[in-house]
């Protein structure tokens, strides 16, 4: 069985309505001045614009996005490659399945001390966190995709005399593609999590550093402005992967 893929856009019309509603409630709550931790939405918007115009947000986001890219691209390439190997070769699967599943379910933040020891606290460590957070879900989904290949398709190709390479390229790979794309989409969301964790807990750079700074200095509207920006990065990355998915998986 191939895992079901979600075909709805990440942000439909209903999504926008819900967000608009939330903004209104937020604004009203903020205007009541109950606590400084709930500033009105308009104040956050103002702070956000301020951070955009003075370049703070671009500097922070630039550094963050670079780490995201440096971590996610290797995770995607190696994750898909390893997933394909694990899906196709039982020996590889037996060897690595336990490890992959352990890392899948482990709280990866626990590895922070190890990462600091390995990479120091420069921004490479953020890329490493991004990699660790996104790698395993990509491996697991790719493996599942390959293993979900219909038996009869394999028999059909073999009956026509398909070589191992043809079997892999023409049956297993396209069969696994929807699951691979789902893995990449879940992976990129994990990658953003890894980015924030890395920047807040380890390296203090990029958007994570801004979150810590505004939190500690009680610049609450700015804090929210950065949180919203992180959300935007997550949504945009996921949407971009989804666009690729629509490009590659056209038959569904």
């Amino acid at each position: 069985m191939t895992p079901a893929t979600v075909q709805e856009p990440a942000f439909g019309r209903g999504g926008f309505a819900a967000i608009a509603g939330l903004l209104v409630v937020w604004e009203l709550l903020g205007q009541m001045h109950l606590t400084i931790f709930v500033p009105p939405a308009s104040a956050v918007a103002q702070a956000w614009w301020g951070l955009v115009t003075d370049g703070t947000l671009f500097r922070a986001a630039g550094s963050s996005l670079l780490s995201l890219l440096k971590g996610f691209v290797p995770a995607a390439v190696l994750g898909v490659a390893l997933g394909l190997a694990m899906g196709r070769f039982r020996s590889v699967r037996y060897l690595l399945d336990g490890w992959i599943n352990a890392f899948m379910s482990a709280p990866l933040s626990a590895l922070v001390p190890v990462l600091i020891a390995l990479f120091g606290i420069r921004d490479t460590v953020v890329a490493a966190t991004v990699f660790l957070f996104s790698f395993f879900v990509i491996v697991v989904n790719t493996t599942t995709g390959v293993r979900g290949t219909e038996r009869s398709l394999v028999e059909m190709a073999r009956a026509f005399g398909a070589s191992e390479a043809a079997l892999f390229g023409r049956i297993y790979l396209p069969s696994a593609l929807p699951a691979v794309m789902l893995g990449l989409r879940l992976g990129v969301v994990q990658a953003v999590k890894g980015m924030v964790v890395g920047e807040m807990l380890i390296s203090l750079v990029g958007m994570g550093e801004r979150l810590i700074y505004y939190g500690n200095t009680f610049l609450i509207p700015e804090l929210y402005a950065v949180i919203v920006s992180v959300l935007l990065v997550a949504i945009l990355s996921s949407t971009m992967v989804q666009a690729c998915e629509h490009l590659f998986v056209r038959w569904k």
């Binding site: 190709a157 073999r158 005399g161």
Partner: protein, 254 residues
């Protein structure tokens, strides 16, 4: 057009672990014959068919198609047709019909030509070529499966319950179309089925296999006149009598 060839199945045995699937199977399929394999589930009829295709290595005995002893998959004599159609969901109808030729390294222009002819034979020419399988009904999907099998111009068609998951009306139409194609192309057909009517209606001979372990229990000749699709054979008393005879054989086996 390729001359039809016979299939010799001699003393074939096959087990999966401790389970004996087939024991001492001897069947001679004549060149150009339409032969059905029928029997209760567990009788190994699909196992035998896949062994003929070279997909299941056998433990003992041998299978010879034409002059060649089957030693593995990929032989050019036979094409398989699957119960679940086994179409590539990511490929168009035309790409699916061409797939066997693609795997055999046939150049694109020849592929396109052969696939177009095969699709025409199964009644799917023209507008369907660019559709994806998911856009087609089950009956039409199996026509694509049949076109893919025919496109490589095999001498033998091996069909594994090809119409089992297709509704009754469509199934009858497909059976008639299959008979017409078989008469035009003179291919040897081995059909696995669980439908007694289908076995009698289509076949020259029906081989009844008994289960656990799979053995040849009985071979039933079907001397109904051809072309059956034109003669309304289904409505004849002889047809009903033969179906009943087959039923009596299967019933006693329970």
């Amino acid at each position: 057009m390729a001359e039809p060839v016979g299939i010799a199945i001699e003393g074939v045995s096959k087990s999966f672990g401790t389970l004996q699937a087939l024991v001492g199977i001897d069947i001679g399929v004549k060149a150009g014959e339409f032969l059905s394999l029928i029997g209760p589930s567990g009788c190994g009829k699909t196992t035998l068919l896949k062994s003929i295709a070279g997909l299941n290595p056998i433990d003992a005995g041998r299978i010879v198609i034409g002059g060649r002893t089957v030693s593995g998959p990929g032989g050019h004599e036979a094409s398989l047709v699957f119960q679940d159609f086994a179409l590539l969901p990511w490929a168009t109808v035309r790409e699916n019909a061409e797939f066997g030729l693609l795997l055999r390294g046939v150049p694109p222009s020849e592929r396109a030509e052969a696939a177009r002819k095969a699709l025409h034979k199964v009644g799917l020419a023209g507008s369907f070529e660019q559709a994806y399988p998911a856009q087609l009904s089950g009956g039409m999907q199996q026509r694509v499966g049949l076109a893919r099998a025919l496109a490589v111009n095999p001498q033998v068609l091996l069909m594994d319950e090809p119409f089992a998951s297709i509704d009754e009306q469509t199934r009858r139409i497909l059976q008639d179309d299959l008979l017409r194609m078989w008469q035009e192309e003179r291919k040897t057909v081995v059909l696995v089925t669980h439908s007694m009517e289908e076995a009698i209606y289509l076949s020259d001979r029906v081989v009844v296999l008994s289960p656990r372990p799979g053995r040849v229990h009985k071979v039933l000749d079907v001397p109904l006149p051809r072309p059956r699709q034109a003669l309304d054979v289904r409505a004849s008393g002889d047809f009903a009598r033969l179906v009943d005879e087959l039923w009596q054989i299967l019933k006693k086996m329970q």
